[in-house]
């Protein structure tokens, strides 16, 4: 008998519905001996490309369809659905119908739907319609309305002649008899009938996952009435099991069973798709926008013009290189691609928006000549092969960095240039991770929302499947009391949601550009911001052969743009950061001393330590620094040999004299991908293109042995076998982790520029950083650094504060002093419209005037007054006695806001105070400084008037706490006490495979860096992650000429120490911090992940590169964020008191 084919299958890409990934389904189908499988995801074909790929891999044929909501349904709540399958050649029609569901009249954003008419319009003989039990016809049959059913069916048949009735029985109550009626109905109207299982998961054991998804989708608790199935039979059943289903439906009539299975098979045969229609890239079918002319000569002309414009037309080597590059491009038919990218880059610069190339594309001379890249690859020794080579399948990646604040303007420009149907954003699936999974499952089992919140936030940002392991492994979670019987099931279920797509979102930078046929290649829907958005992710669009361009919003570019505008506004000077000298000694002095907070790429604690050791003096040094600060190089210990040779403590060694040229720039250490290419080429003479292929396989443990054999066999005769082995060892260890020099070169420029601006235009620089928040640190840390750099911090003032951070210049006899004014937008809860009204209405003469004309909401007005925004109107200051009858206090003003709010609200009328309630000046006591700072932290998220640590000076002095500015004077290996506000916690990947917590404290004189190893985490982790103000004991480690770091031994919550001091006196505190900490319970568990080359990684290390550019892309930063917590950091677990109580 011919195998059964499942025609109605939902994968995990049916959001909050399916529980299995396409790859698992295809593999299971193949295991069951099936030769084809359909994927019919709900509401879109999000998983289609992955399904076709999976089918090719599993050696079965792919059928693709979609399951859509019918708009003209009379039963709200549970909409009717129909399924459409693409016939051969029907891929385009399927894409269009999926788009129509989202973009058409019938659907709304987030609620896609189709009508009979819209299906008819797209189907055109290329789609097959399945009417199942969820369709309008199926419902009429189930409800015994046969006349209705026949009528509806007749209208469907007129709209889509190619259709079949679908029968399903998942063993629920009365399902078999309903299915039998459906089959009888098909006979009566002489329609084909097909048997499906409406698959939602691969195994019956996954039924609870589907139940949880049902509850999460409906935002309802788990209860049979909220679930789609009452059984666990919606799995990918075998042919034998499906035969049993057919027997249940057809009864003893063997002929009927045969007919049902036969027509199912027949419909399947008629819907097998050619995989190349979907995976166009495999067969080199690249989809490019129309250029209008033959792109080959056009690109050659552009390059020729570029040679002249850049003054490079006379150089023979340049011409030879250009010819090489053009040949590769033409062989790959990519001339049009380069023309389009050049056009887009030029369009962005004309907006005008700062635009720079990032990544390997900077290595191409063509990119430089046609104006995509400003980096001259020949000058920096960059290679095209890293970017584009003959051996590489697919379109090369060109990434453009633009100002983050103007990213959408760039999208809009592309949208307008190419038109709605030729442009689309790339999407991405947000998947379930520990915190989101706990939230959805918690809601499903009916936990109270606030408890769910506390539980979810207690976990670090780990994968959902690590939840229970983390509870065991991490001391701070062991101590949290979360491991209770009632919660175990929540955690068990949450783990099963691991990695399932939860939500579709716009990719932060990917943009598709195509020709008029784009929507036959990808379905689109509207993104939140209204742009057309592909249903495919970045990998899928590449497989589909679509032109993807990454337009990355880089906050640092916006910060620099803002800094420049502030310099010009305040000082009347125009600065061009591209033109400043690249060898400014003062700038490098600042970098070498590690005072790099706010600077691009080099502000993290680890980077501050590295720059202090490396002591960069040129842009090339910065390129090396950026390349070295990656998990790979740090783990493979490339840093130490490089630093030792750089500082002349040991002689650079080269495995072979002929490798000197490739490795001299980094003193014999392999740092860059480009060097790997050159070394491979030097040893084997294989050419750089092939060397690039070799480099790519280095990171693949399975294929590394093959490459090794190839490398040893093809070494040139002048290399002896021992040398070749040695070179191979180096390549194997470092090659996979090296960094693309072109990428680092593109980064080093803004790094230097930001440092230069910080050194020479400090106040304006901080205004830019505080306004656009490009880095990892919260505003209060940046503010504190600004204060240390001699910039005055000026309080909120309704008459002076603007929308953004602004520089104010105050002349003094010793020259101008610069200050930074806290902006109105920093006030918690203030709306854009309020900021607009407040700034437009300046100046104000009184609080009543402010209330009447700016019309702030009452809470906002109170907050503004509470942090001193109205002090300027009355010349108030917090100094002096708290009780001062007859003289106005800030508290009086807050009371006045209340009176104004209660008073008559004449529209816009200026109401003198006398007409409202009378507040006696001095009736209420003035706020203390501590209260003021607490209000600032609460409302502005930063301590403006005083540093919080200032309130604990007495205790710190009693304990003999060493301050940051005195750390350099401490003896190496001495054990000291430090204290401060937590600035950042990170758990990066480190060489040993331990979880190491790096903590930066700020004690008002500078940063203090502490390292907590696993041995002390048992006693410390809960305090480290849970407290904000810390006292710690640590052993001094000198890490560079001007850098000190501490190995932590113990730590305490500072407010807790204050309480102890208040209760039992200073001696009790002194004896507590002197005692060795009792290890409460073991250290950190969990097995390190070990890689083939000995690289070990803690399962709780932060994912991704350490100074992730994504930090600059983070979409939204909570306004009251007080410290930076990396992904591997656990959350806050309790309430804390930040300031001593008075």
């Amino acid at each position: 008998m011919r195998p059964f084919t499942h025609l109605h299958v939902a994968s995990a890409y049916s959001l909050r519905y399916g529980a299995a990934f396409p790859a698992a389904l295809a593999a299971r189908a193949a295991e069951l001996g099936m030769d084809a499988l359909a994927l019919t995801d709900r509401d879109g074909i999000y998983g289609a490309v992955k399904h076709v790929q999976a089918c090719v891999k599993a050696g079965i044929r792919a059928i693709v369809g979609v399951d859509l909501v019918l708009a003209d349904d009379s039963a709200p709540g549970k909409p009717a659905r129909v399924t459409l399958l693409a016939k051969p050649g029907g891929w385009g029609a399927l894409c269009r119908v999926a788009s129509a569901a989202h973009l058409g009249q019938a659907g709304a954003r987030g609620a896609p739907a189709v009508t009979r008419e819209s299906i008819a319009e797209q189907a055109q003989g290329e789609l097959v319609l399945l009417l199942g039990r969820g369709s309008d016809v199926g419902r009429a049959v189930a409800e015994h309305r046969f006349d209705d059913a026949r009528d509806l069916f007749r209208r469907w048949r007129e709209a889509v002649p190619d259709l079949a009735v679908e029968v399903v029985d998942q063993y629920g109550y009365r399902e078999a008899s309903t299915a039998a009626r459906m089959l009888a109905f098909a006979d009566r109207v002489r329609a084909k009938a097909v048997l499906t299982n409406q698959v939602r998961y691969a195994d019956p054991q996954d039924a609870p996952v589907a139940d949880v998804l049902d509850a999460a989708r409906r935002l309802a608790p788990l209860h049979p009435r909220h679930l789609d199935q009452s059984t666990s039979h919606a799995y990918l059943k075998s042919g034998k099991e499906m035969l049993e289903v057919a027997e249940r439906i057809c009864g003893p009539d063997r002929a009927a069973i045969g007919r049902l299975l036969h027509t199912t098979r027949e419909v399947a045969e008629g819907c097998v798709l050619d995989p190349d229609d979907v995976l166009a890239m495999r067969v080199g079918r690249v989809h490019l926008p129309e250029v209008g002319r033959d792109p080959v000569p056009l690109l050659r002309n552009h390059c020729e013009d570029g040679l002249i414009r850049r003054g490079m037309e006379r150089s023979k080597t340049t011409r030879a290189r250009l010819e090489d590059e053009l040949r590769v491009i033409e062989r790959k038919n990519l001339s049009g691609y380069f023309i389009v990218i050049a056009e887009i880059a030029s369009m962005i610069r004309h907006i005008p928006v700062r635009c720079a190339i990032r990544g390997s594309g900077a290595g191409s001379l063509v990119n430089h000549l046609i104006g995509i890249s400003e980096v001259n690859p020949i000058e920096h020794g960059l290679l095209m092969e890293r970017f584009l080579s003959d051996g590489r399948i697919g379109l090369p990646d060109i990434d453009l960095d633009v100002e983050s604040a103007a990213r959408l303007d760039c999208y809009r420009a592309i949208y307008e240039r190419y038109g709605e149907t030729r442009m689309a954003c790339v999407s991405m699936m947000e998947t379930y991770r520990a915190r989101s999974a706990i939230r959805d499952v918690g809601a499903g089992v009916g936990l109270p929302p606030h408890e769910i919140d506390v539980i979810a936030k207690a976990f670090p940002h780990i994968r959902a499947r690590q939840i229970r392991a983390a509870l065991n492994d991490l001391p701070e979670l062991r101590a949290s009391g979360l491991d209770q019987a009632q919660l175990r099931q929540v955690f068990a279920l949450a783990e099963r949601l691991d990695g399932l797509p939860r939500h579709i979102a716009m990719h932060p930078c990917g943009v598709l550009v195509g020709n008029g046929g784009l929507r036959d290649r990808t379905p689109v829907q509207h993104s939140l911001m209204g742009f057309p958005m592909s249903q495919f992710d970045k990998d899928d669009v590449e497989e589909a052969g679509l032109l993807k361009l990454d337009v990355l919003g880089v906050r640092m570019q916006s910060a620099i743009a803002y800094t420049l505008s502030e310099i010009s506004r305040v000082d009347g000077v125009t600065v061009d950061p591209d033109a400043v000298p690249r060898d400014d000694a003062a700038t490098y002095d600042m970098i070498c001393s590690g005072r790099t907070l706010g600077c691009f790429q080099i502000e993290s604690p680890g980077q501050r330590e590295l720059v202090a050791k490396l002591e960069p003096r040129t842009v090339h040094d910065l390129i090396v620094d950026i390349s070295l600060f990656r998990p790979g190089p740090v783990n493979s210990d490339m840093v130490t040999p490089y630093l030792e040779t750089r500082h002349g403590w040991r002689v650079a060694k080269y495995p072979h004299e002929s490798l000197r040229e490739a490795l001299a720039e980094t003193h014999g250490v392999v740092v860059f991908h480009e060097q790997v290419l050159r070394v491979v080429d030097a040893v084997t003479g294989c050419g750089l293109s092939h060397a690039e292929k070799v480099r790519r396989t280095l990171s693949d443990p399975d294929r590394r042995q093959d490459v090794r054999r190839w490398f040893l066999a093809n070494a040139r005769p002048d290399f002896d076998p021992a040398t070749v082995e040695r070179v191979w060892t180096i390549l194997e260890a470092f090659g996979a982790f090296g960094f693309c020099k072109a990428h680092a070169a593109a980064f080093a420029l803004p790094t230097y520029q930001s440092a230069w601006l910080k050194r020479h235009h400090t106040a304006a620089f901080f205004a830019g950083i505080l306004t656009h928040e490009p880095g990892m640190y919260p505003p209060r840390v940046i503010l504190d650094d600004a204060r240390r750099c001699g910039v005055e911090i000026l309080p909120l003032d309704v008459n002076r504060s603007g929308r953004n951070w602004e520089v104010e210049k105050r002349p003094t006899p010793d020259g101008p002093v610069y200050g930074l004014r806290v902006p109105l937008s920093a006030v918690k809860g203030v709306s854009d419209a309020e900021v607009e009204r407040i700034t437009a209405g300046r100046p104000y003469t009184s609080l009543a005037d402010f209330w009447a004309r700016a019309r702030p909401s009452r809470p906002v007005a109170e907050r503004v007054v509470e942090v001193g925004g109205a002090d300027g109107l009355y010349g108030l200051s917090l100094a002096g006695p708290r009780w001062r009858p007859g003289r106005l206090t800030r508290r009086d003003l807050i009371a006045q806001v209340g009176a104004l709010a209660r008073g008559p609200s004449g529209a816009g009328a200026q109401m003198p105070l006398e007409f409202t309630e009378r507040i006696e000046p001095g009736e209420l006591p003035e706020m203390t400084e501590a209260e003021a700072v607490r209000a600032e932290l609460e409302i502005l998220g930063m301590d403006v008037s005083r540093h919080v640590v200032g309130f604990h000076e007495e205790l710190l002095a009693e304990l003999g706490v060493v301050r940051s500015r005195d750390l350099l004077r401490c003896r190496n290996n001495s054990s000291i006490l430090v204290a401060g506000v937590k600035v950042a916690t990170q758990t990066p990947a480190v060489r040993s495979g331990q979880r190491v917590i790096f903590v930066t404290l700020d004690d008002s004189t500078g940063p203090v860096d502490l390292t907590f190893f696993e041995s002390v985490q048992g006693a410390c982790a809960a305090t480290v992650f849970g407290s904000w103000l810390l006292v710690a004991r640590g052993v001094v480690r000198r890490t560079g000429a001007r850098a000190v770091s501490l190995r932590a031994e113990a730590c305490w919550d500072l407010p807790a120490l204050e309480e102890l001091r208040a209760a039992e006196g200073p001696d009790a505190v002194r004896s507590l911090v002197r005692r060795a900490p009792a290890t409460r319970d073991g250290g950190v568990g969990g097995r390190a992940i070990e890689y083939g080359n000995g690289y070990r990684l803690s399962p709780y290390a932060d994912l991704g590169p350490v100074p992730s550019p994504a930090a600059g892309l983070a979409a939204s930063v909570p306004s009251a964020r007080l410290w930076h917590a990396s992904q591997g950091s656990s959350g806050d677990t309790g309430r804390r008191q930040y300031l001593p109580r008075h």
Partner: protein, 88 residues
């Protein structure tokens, strides 16, 4: 008219279907399966990891000559049969 019971019974199966069962000391022979369906247990109410399934059978059966309709339930987790309802 149907009557509701809920008595534990002993049952024997053939090809996955009930074939004979013993109820109140009488042996019944199943003549025909009229209907069969299953429900999953409400797993979220238990702490057990076994999902379990309840399989319902509505059958025509007879202890001698008189044919009646009986509804039986098999619980996979407890591996036990119940007599749920009887029509006469």
């Amino acid at each position: 008219m149907s009557r509701v019971y809920g008595d534990p019974i002993e049952a024997w199966t053939r090809d996955g279907r009930p074939d004979r069962f013993l109820w109140r000391d009488r042996l019944y022979t199943v003549e025909r399966v009229l209907d069969h369906w299953v429900t999953s247990r409400q797993w979220w109410k238990t702490t057990e990891t076994d999902l379990g399934e309840r399989r319902f059978w509505r059958v025509e059966a007879t202890p001698d000559r008189e044919v009646g309709v009986y509804e039986l339930r098999y619980d996979t987790a407890s591996n036990g049969w119940l007599m749920l309802r009887v029509w006469d």
